[in-house]
């Protein structure tokens, strides 16, 4: 089932994110793809995330697709100008990839090639407009294409951004520019997320809540202090701190993630989840099981 069919069917959709390798060896990737077999609806390939140079998201998306998964290619505007973005989109379509998530992309200063020239010839909303144009059979200059693309375009959003209003306005512009679904920054606080969802529901786009498992209270504090738009509530930090050992802190984090997912699903708060495992991929099946998403 395609991601679009899954989201439109009304089922609680699960997407997971995989980072391409820094190198050419894809053994680990293939292991993760096996692990996710039959468990997730689609797999995102990240695009030099955190501005750290890796294999291209386009190449990994093709590997994901060949493995039998639904692939979502993430595209940032940091590394390519409008020519390169369009030609990669045409290439992605030709390779069979049908889902693209458009984002502006972390600044190069965050990454491992700090001297690089950041591009940002377009940004996320303009990239979505570009995708819509390619879907309609024209490049962004209006020149007809020999064969249009057929992308199901998505985007990202930070539900707990501060200040929130300009982020919500940008969210609306993404919807207007053709984003049909959103994968969110990691969320922890259902009350805050509900405020965002009451706004998002009016816009008609599908929302997959971002899930990042907390390993301990230090990680939670780090996210709060350093990552834009992430707010782990004090109660959760206390719960992690109360766990006596490293292993038990991790189990607590997994239980909290599962609890959050279960609530999102049971109360139909959003349309699914987007799991950013960040090294915790092996535990994803268990989290899903605890959350009631897997029967085995």
């Amino acid at each position: 089932m395609s991601l679009q069919e899954a989201l439109e069917s009304g089922k609680f959709v699960v997407t997971a994110e995989i980072a391409p390798p820094k190198g050419t060896n894809t053994d680990e990737i293939k292991h993760l793809l096996d692990l996710y077999d039959g468990r997730v609806d689609a797999i995102n390939a990240t695009d030099n995330q955190s501005a750290v140079m890796r294999m291209s998201s386009l190449a990994l998306s093709k590997i994901v697709l060949d493995h039998g998964h639904e692939a979502v290619v993430q595209m940032t505007c940091r590394d390519r100008n409008r020519l390169a973005l369009q030609s990669d989109l045409l290439g992605a379509h030709a390779l069979g990839i049908r889902n693209v998530v458009a984002m502006t992309g972390d600044h190069v200063i965050a990454g491992d090639h700090k001297q690089a020239k950041p591009v940002y010839d377009v940004e996320s909303v303009q990239l979505l407009q570009m995708i819509r144009s390619l879907n309609e059979g024209r490049d962004m200059m209006g020149t007809p294409l020999k064969g249009p693309t057929g992308f199901y375009a998505g985007a990202v959003v930070t539900p707990e951004a501060n200040p929130l209003e300009p982020q919500l306005i940008k969210f609306a512009k993404k919807v207007q520019a053709g984003a049909k679904y959103f994968q969110t920054q990691a969320i922890y606080d259902i009350t805050m997320f509900n405020i965002f969802m009451s706004h998002a529901r009016k816009m008609g786009a599908k929302v997959l809540a971002g899930i990042v498992v907390l390993k301990n209270e230090r990680m939670a504090q780090y996210l709060n202090d350093n990552i834009a738009g992430i707010r782990v509530p004090a109660g959760m930090i206390a719960e992690l701190a109360a766990a006596p050992s490293k292993a038990e802190k991790l189990e607590t984090g997994i239980r909290m993630a599962a609890r959050l997912i279960r609530q999102l699903k049971e109360e139909r708060i959003c349309d699914g989840i987007h799991i950013m495992a960040i090294g915790m991929e092996e535990r994803v099946p268990e989290i899903m099981k605890q959350a009631g998403l897997l029967s085995d």
């Binding site: 502006t104 200063i109 010839d121 996320s124 909303v125 951004a161 209003e165 300009p166 834009a228 738009g229």
Partner: protein, 222 residues
């Protein structure tokens, strides 16, 4: 104004290692305000060079170093000192330096400064970049705050996901340009325009270098 910063003295000395006689050329405009090319800095440079065994044959602070014809006229009275110099040290911006290159075809010219940006002096000796000279102003669409310059990504449609508590992901010292634009447009009663506008990607053909502008032309230059 054009903001400049003096380069390392070692790099300056290395450039002129083969020359003994030096003429110093400053500028009374931006470089003076930046303390990189005023009378005071020329005196300091003279002292430093003399201590290094160089001989300063003369020095002059041009009124407007990037004004080629005016500078040419001003420098006539220094012809002798310039003739006696093996090279010219330009204590100006990159443009002012190239005035000297244009005027003295047979003489090596070295810049003393790195040219940083076009900006405003907000407090004494404190400068902030304000304009990227992109060639197609959008200040009328963004509440008068330039996102091409104030946003490290130069993006044109609202804040990116890296905005944290109104600050930029590049540095917590940098305010998010798009939050500033949002707040400003709200304050001047243009929130609806902020919500309704999706600026198109910039026309970078307006930025094809080197750009030439002939203000005398009646027809717009391309």
């Amino acid at each position: 104004m054009i903001i400049t910063k003096k380069r390392d003295m070692d790099a300056i000395l290395d450039n002129i290692r083969n020359y003994r006689h030096v003429f110093l050329l400053g500028c009374s405009e931006c470089a003076t305000l930046c303390a990189t090319g005023g009378a005071e800095q020329l005196e300091e440079m003279k002292t430093l060079l003399t201590a290094q065994g160089k001989e300063v044959t003369g020095m002059f602070v041009a009124k407007t170093g990037c004004q080629v014809l005016g500078t040419k006229v001003e420098l006539r009275q220094h012809a002798e000192a310039i003739n006696a110099a093996d090279c010219i040290l330009a204590m100006a911006c990159g443009a002012g330096t190239q005035t000297a290159v244009e005027l003295f075809e047979d003489k090596p010219v070295y810049t003393v400064n790195d040219t940083l940006f076009l900006g405003n002096m907000t407090r004494l000796q404190q400068f902030h970049e304000r304009c990227s000279q992109c060639g197609e102003c959008i200040l009328d669409k963004t509440g008068g705050i330039c996102p091409v310059t104030a946003c490290p990504k130069g993006i044109l449609v609202g804040p990116c996901g890296g905005c944290k508590d109104g600050k930029c992901e590049v540095s917590p010292d940098v305010p998010c340009a798009w939050v500033k634009i949002y707040e400003r447009m709200k304050r001047i009663d243009q929130l609806q325009e902020f919500c309704n506008t999706i600026l198109p990607p910039k026309d970078w053909s307006k930025n094809t270098k080197p750009r030439i502008r002939n203000a005398k032309e009646t027809k717009e230059s391309p």
